[in-house]
């Protein structure tokens, strides 16, 4: 089982992919776990970008008011949403 990560906009460029799975998770992934995982899997740049205050996070399509409250378990989808483009 796994947590699915989805990268939107320029975060997909930074991650080098639109999505990936965090496999072999044991229980719930919290915000600290996630940043640590991103840094190892990809780069400190991606972890820093995702932590940026303009990047929103959605879990299973529901936006988090507070990213630090993240708690994702097996089968959950976590999306990283940078600011949307203008018209």
């Amino acid at each position: 089982m796994a947590v699915k990560l989805v990268f939107l906009g320029r975060l997909a460029d930074l991650a080098g992919t639109h999505e990936c799975d965090v496999a072999d998770t044991d229980g719930v992934i919290d915000w600290t776990d996630l940043l640590a995982w991103l840094e190892v899997w990809s780069s400190a740049d991606l972890a820093a970008a995702v932590a940026g205050e303009k990047v929103r996070i959605a879990v299973n399509g529901a936006l988090l008011a507070d990213k630090a409250a993240l708690a994702a378990g097996d089968g959950d989808e976590v999306a990283f949403l940078p600011p949307v483009s203008g018209g």
Binding site: N60, L63, E77, A79, S85, G86
Partner: protein, 147 residues
């Protein structure tokens, strides 16, 4: 009546407007705005990506807000995703109402929100490759008119 669609293929705004107008025979009029990829500034293609668990519910919620806020008989929101060529329609907002001011204001409202408060990311292909399009302060000013 609410008609909200995300399309992966090209569409014809005029045909959509006619069909929408026919579906609201009792309306006095239909206002519409159709936005397209401008063939200027060396843009060779535009890619629209979205996150469907947010983009489609977001458009549906926007349509509902417009129906609540204005005196409408119906609203149509169509948005393309994928790679578009210059000249291709990107977005269509149309509103049917008994009175024209309600229809025009609803289209203005819907477009301001679709352009800067919807879950779409755009990048442009130019001679030197792909470039992400940033938020524009003008869009945020437009949006603030409705608060």
């Amino acid at each position: 009546m609410r008609d909200v669609r995300l399309l992966a293929v090209a569409f014809d705004p005029g045909a959509e407007i006619d069909a929408f107008s026919a579906a609201h025979a009792e309306a006095g009029g239909v206002a519409a705005f159709a936005g397209k990829v401008r063939p200027t500034d060396g843009c060779e293609a535009l890619e629209l990506s979205h996150y469907e668990p947010l983009s489609l519910p977001g458009m549906a919620g926007l349509a509902d807000q417009a129906l609540t806020r204005f005196d409408l008989l119906g609203i149509l929101l169509v948005h393309r995703v994928g790679v578009l060529l210059p000249g291709e329609p990107i977005v269509l907002a149309a509103a049917a109402a008994r009175h024209r001011r309600s229809a025009i204001e609803a289209v203005d409202f819907a477009m301001d929100h679709l352009k800067s408060d919807a879950w779409f990311w755009k990048r442009e292909k130019r001679a030197d490759g792909w470039h992400w399009i940033e938020p524009r302060s003008e869009d945020h000013r437009d949006l603030a008119r409705w608060n």
